[in-house]
Amino acid sequence: MKVEYLFYLLVFPGLLFTGVVGLLVGWVDRKVSARFQYRVGPPLFQNFNDFFKLLGKETMIVKQSVHWLFIAAPLVAFAALVLLSTMIGSALFYQQNIGGGLIVVMYLLMVSSVMIILGGSSTGNVYSSIGAAREIKLLLADELVFIFVCLIPIIKSGYQIDLVQIAGIQESGGAFIRATSGIIGFILGILCIQAKMTLPPFHIPEAETELVEGPLMEYSGPPLAFWKLNHFMMWVVYPFLLVLLYLGGFKSEGLGILWFVLKYLAIVVVMIIIKNTNPRIRIDTALHFFWKILTPLGIIALILSVLGA
């Protein structure tokens, strides 16, 4: 292992960068959401305060639970997300492939959901178990479409699974979103991210009003702080992945940085708007939506991308 990988992992684009940007974007989300609801919204550093305050709180562990799994789950999910942010970020900013390509990223993205399910249901709480069941079904619903979202850039880049190559080909040949299949893939991608982050209208597993945060119900103190941090880090990891796959990645020269920030914020804003304008749907509706409406669209996009459109 090269020493600079530790820098990538811990500082930029890994832990520190993703954590700080995630918490800040979380503020944007809260602020914009508040404006949607005619509220003032929290101050800029509210998410930081929340995180550190949670670290100081008591950790309540259910006596009957599997203690090690209950504590390890948020930490493993955290480790997976830090690694993902390093992998995607290094491909974007350093043109370096660390660890693996797109298929590895696809599978690592599942780790977070798996850990939520395992950690939540380790407590034996009925709400957590129901929430966990919904989390798995939601994962199944969006995963099928997400496979198409990942396959289209692979095909368009001439069967490259290396993230650096996928970004590099767009740099020379134009972003994939310019093609019809790219547009469909990008839209599908945003909807998948929305579900993967369990944002409204797909906050079915957590369903505050009926399941009281579902799998996270028994969490408190530092483990809950990590779950919250994980969620904020996803605000960076997923949109960065979409920028890399469809919007042409990152260029360091000229107005490259500005363009990148704009692309990123555009995705974030679209997600916040979807989040604030849709009520929660039922899990069977979500399955129906992803499998019967979006999957055919994915197949069409796949056909188009094979045809070169």
């Binding site: 811990l10 955290f78 696809m106 034996g124 994962l139 045809l307």
Partner: protein
């Protein structure tokens, strides 16, 4: 000296089996274990040396190459681990027969993979099917006998096809050593022989549509035998034959149609079996369906014709034997404590059986393809190889392969889902009060599953050093050291785990520095945590089960419309009814039959 050592691989376990008939029960397991360790030593020695083939009357019977060595070593390793598991806790009524059948099984499997001669291949292949039947008869459930019979008919039928296929091959090329020169698939006879061999391989490994014996067998037979045969050795034999067919019996390198057929068959096997696995309520049947579903990946990889995917397919075969035996044995440990394999009878055992839970969790994550475990590595290789395969093909072929790939990747998400249900139902969630007295199973159980769990991680991290460099390079055409370098560039599991460990460590330090722990009961909004608030997990996927059009498909599958055995028996019964009707006992009618028969014979002879 080396000349005769190939014999030892078969004769030693046979002799052990015979000695076990007369040996006191206490010593049988120990002799078995010693025999297996000796066989492992022998296999490694043979692989390092270059043993000359064994001949009887100028006909080569046993020979050894890298593929044989690869299969042999893993047969011995798995048999040792399952023996460790069976040292204690085996049903006393069964243990006598079990200890005799066990070395006999190993002997048959060793002989099958060593056979380079069509005749010995058929004989030992058939015998290995017979031991499967005999193990099935040891089951104590009400359906054990019926299931063993079903298994025997399906496997025995496929043996007959293997024999016929080899006879056709012999007729075509007049060679008994079937691996000498590949037969081209350019005429009807060769294609027929190919189909027959393929059915035999699929039935043994549990590929669609000849898999229907496997889930039922898994439920009824003793768990040690399920972990040994359908989960491990039968997979090695079936996929070994498939690999032989692709690599040396038939010439398929340029046959794109056949490669597409294999990829499609693999994807269909994956998705159908995993969809069935998801809705199972019995732990063993759930694992049984997964044993089928995983074969799909192997078929995809081995049949695709791409070197990376082929290596991935063979690697997946080994991985599957490891995690599937682990899962079956872990479930067996739980079952021995709880007294049932029904998921609804279990729950919350993770705290009572921490070792078993940890091993089962590793197995579940491996089979679901979570990096950096071994299951992910082999799946990743299969996907990468198949994408590479699609690259150079015309658009229509590309699209077809990509759709199969989507099914396979989605199959792995479904696998994850069904294993989360499995883990939740057995180890997580609320524990029913009747299971409060459950204890961890005996040490030999979790040592055996522990070795398998550690292997899942070790093979996931060091597959290049442990599997690809010693076995695959030189065995698969176009799979060389350059391929290995490019593979390591594309995916580095050690780097992935190192980076994850660093960030996990940071998280852990933060937690340890800030934690103030309090232990309390579940919070249910002020309600007491009663038994009625227990979520079992068996109903997790009811929404998917009841979704149209899946509902009607599931209903049809549960009525056994897809079971080739049931269909064949329905056909046989209706056909014999027809024959019954033709036998009313009237003399005139029989005279008419004779006249028609004579006329037909004259017409044919003419």
């Amino acid at each position: 000296m080396v000349d005769k050592t190939l014999y030892l691989l078969v004769s030693v376990p046979f002799v052990v089996a015979i000695i076990n008939i007369v040996l006191p029960k206490v010593l049988r397991s120990i002799l078995n274990l010693l025999g297996s360790v000796f066989l492992l030593y022998l296999s490694i020695r043979l692989l390092l040396g270059e043993p000359s083939p064994i001949k009887i009357l100028e006909w080569e019977v046993f020979s050894m190459d890298k593929l044989t060595g690869f299969a042999l070593i893993f047969i011995q390793i798995l048999s040792i681990i399952i023996l460790i598991y069976a040292l204690k806790g085996l049903d006393k009524k069964l243990s006598g027969k079990f200890c005799i059948l066990y070395p006999f099984t190993v002997a048959c499997c060793n002989a099958t993979v060593l056979s380079s001669n069509a005749v010995s291949l058929v004989i030992f292949w058939g015998l290995s099917g017979l031991v499967l039947y005999l193990f099935g008869l040891l089951g104590t459930g009400p359906d054990a006998q019926r299931t063993a019979k079903k298994t025997f008919i399906l496997i025995g039928g496929s043996d007959a096809l293997l024999l016929t296929g080899l006879i056709i091959l012999f007729h075509e090329s007049f060679k008994v050593n079937i691996f000498l020169s590949p037969t081209a698939l350019d005429n009807a006879a060769a294609v027929l022989a190919f189909i027959m061999l393929l059915i035999a391989a699929l039935a043994k490994a549990g590929g669609f549509p000849f898999h229907t014996w496997l889930p039922e067998y898994s439920k009824e037979a003793p768990v040690e035998s399920v972990a040994l045969l359908p989960a491990a050795l039968d997979k090695i034999l079936g996929i070994y034959l498939l690999a032989r067919m692709v690599m040396s019996i038939f010439n398929m390198e340029t046959n794109i149609g056949m490669q597409l057929f294999f990829i499609t068959l693999g994807a269909v096997t994956v998705i159908i079996a995993v969809m069935m696995a998801m809705i199972q309520h019995n732990g063993r049947k759930l694992l049984g369906y997964h044993a089928v579903s995983q074969v799909g990946y192997m078929i995809m990889g081995v049949g695709s014709g791409n070197p990376i995917a082929m290596a991935g397919g063979l690697f997946h075969m080994i991985n599957n034997t490891i995690y599937k035996s682990n899962l079956f044995l872990s479930l067996g440990s739980v079952e021995k404590q709880v007294g049932s394999s029904e998921l609804s009878e279990m729950g919350g055992l993770g705290k009572k059986m921490p070792f078993t839970f940890t091993m089962a969790l590793v197995g579940a994550l491996s089979i679901s393809g979570i990096p950096p475990f071994n299951g992910f590595f082999s799946k990743w290789m299969i996907y990468t190889g198949i994408l590479e395969k699609a690259k150079g093909l015309p658009g229509g072929y590309q699209l077809w392969i990509l759709l199969c790939l989507v099914l396979a990747v989605f199959g792995s998400a479904l696998t994850l889902a069904s294993f989360l249900k499995f883990i939740h139902a057995i180890f997580l969630g609320k524990r029913p009060a009747k299971l409060d007295q459950i204890k961890e199973s005996s040490a030999n159980h979790w040592i055996a599953t522990g070795i398998l769990a550690v292997s899942c991680l070790v093979l996931g991290l060091f597959a290049v050093q442990l599997i690809f460099r010693p076995f695959m390079v030189g065995m698969i055409t176009k799979f060389n050291t350059d391929t290995l370098t490019s593979l390591s560039d594309m995916y580095s599991p050690t780097l992935v785990i190192l980076l994850m460990l660093v960030s996990f460590g940071i998280g852990l330090v933060v937690y340890l520095l800030t934690r103030k722990v309090r232990y309390d009961d579940n919070y249910l909004g002020g309600m007491p945590a009663l038994e009625k608030f227990r979520v079992v997990g068996t109903e997790f996927y009811n929404e998917i089960r009841n979704m149209s059009p899946l509902r009607s498909l599931y209903n049809a599958a549960e009525e056994k419309w897809c079971d080739i055995y049931e269909l064949a028996s329905k056909f046989t019964v209706s056909f014999s009814k027809l024959l019954q009707k033709a036998h009313p006992g009237q003399l005139q009618l029989y005279l008419l039959y004779i006249v028609i028969g004579v006329l037909l014979s004259i017409w044919i002879i003419r």
